[in-house]
């Protein structure tokens, strides 16, 4: 009886790496979108109210695992500019002009959209790329 040799090749490691890359990509996209949203809103508040507000007080922070992979992130305003909270929430006589809460919603929506619509495509593409089926252009 003739022997048939079947070569099995697992792409699971590539798929795992592709999934991690997809999550990293989604986090980065969400952070950029959130930061831009907050900055845009601060800019509009400055133009509307005349207060000397600087849009570039909104920064990004990345949280990384021990192996250097990105596992999360946030946008924040450094405590030097603590008084921006009075614009976010309003005071007795100043109406609220929120920028962090809407930015948070944008980030959440973007992350969900990236994971929902692009996740599978991203992982498939990365897996094929790693096994040499497609080449990066």
């Amino acid at each position: 009886m003739a022997k048939t040799t079947v070569k099995l090749e697992s792409r699971f490691p590539q798929a795992k790496k592709g999934a991690a890359d997809a999550v990293t990509h989604a986090i980065k996209e969400a952070l950029v979108e959130g930061q831009e949203e907050a900055q845009g809103r601060i800019e509009r508040a400055r133009d509307k109210t005349g207060y000397d507000l600087d849009p570039f007080v909104v920064w990004q922070k990345h949280f990384k695992r021990a192996d250097g992979e990105l596992e999360g992130g946030m946008i924040f305003i450094h405590s030097d500019w603590w008084y921006y909270k009075f614009f976010e929430h309003g005071t007795v006589f100043i109406p609220a002009t929120p920028f962090m809460r809407p930015a948070h919603r944008k980030m959440r929506d973007r992350f969900k959209a990236e994971m929902g619509d692009n996740f599978e495509k991203f992982v498939t593409r990365r897996t094929r790329m790693s096994s040499g089926q497609v080449t990066r252009r």
Binding site: K85, F86, H89, G90, T91, V92, F93, I94, P95, A96, P98, R101, P102, R105
Partner: protein, 144 residues
């Protein structure tokens, strides 16, 4: 659906909170939207819009407007030493009793609301100290 849910929800909150005799008995002026006039007397309640988004389903049918409002009691502290939070806490508690786990229907809206985040703060404005106590409430409003 021609009703702007956000504007209608604001009107609803003003009317609903303003009609509660327990809450108004704790206030000197009333319920204000977005800013309090310089001439207003305190304690007062202030409502600030925080964020809004629409929930839509297939066919662009709008299920509800998903709104967040910061609703707080404000007390003008004129005493000396450590500020006394008793009065503003009572207002914050009453606001929560009215708005958390709340459902209602009016001629133009169906609403439900719940607290998403508590809120306390102190502000110094014009040299005066104000104490704030309340919360961020998610209000989902559907035009009827």
């Amino acid at each position: 659906m021609s009703v702007n849910e956000e504007a209608a929800a604001q009107d609803y909150l003003l009317a609903y909170l303003g009609a509660d005799t327990t809450l108004t008995s704790l206030l000197e002026s009333g319920v204000w939207l977005r800013s309090v006039p310089q001439t207003a007397r305190f304690p007062a309640v202030k409502i600030d819009r925080q964020d809004a988004s629409d929930l839509m389903v297939v066919g662009l049918s709008r299920v509800w407007a998903d709104l967040t409002f910061l609703v707080r009691g404000i007390v003008h502290w004129t005493g000396s030493g450590q500020p006394d939070w008793t009065g503003v806490r009572a207002i914050g508690d009453r606001i929560d009793a009215l708005l958390h786990d709340h459902e209602a229907a009016t001629a133009e809206l169906q609403v439900h609301s719940f607290r998403e985040e508590t809120f306390t703060d102190e502000t110094v404005e014009g040299g005066d100290l104000f104490l704030h106590c309340g919360g961020t409430y998610r209000v989902r409003a559907r035009a009827v």
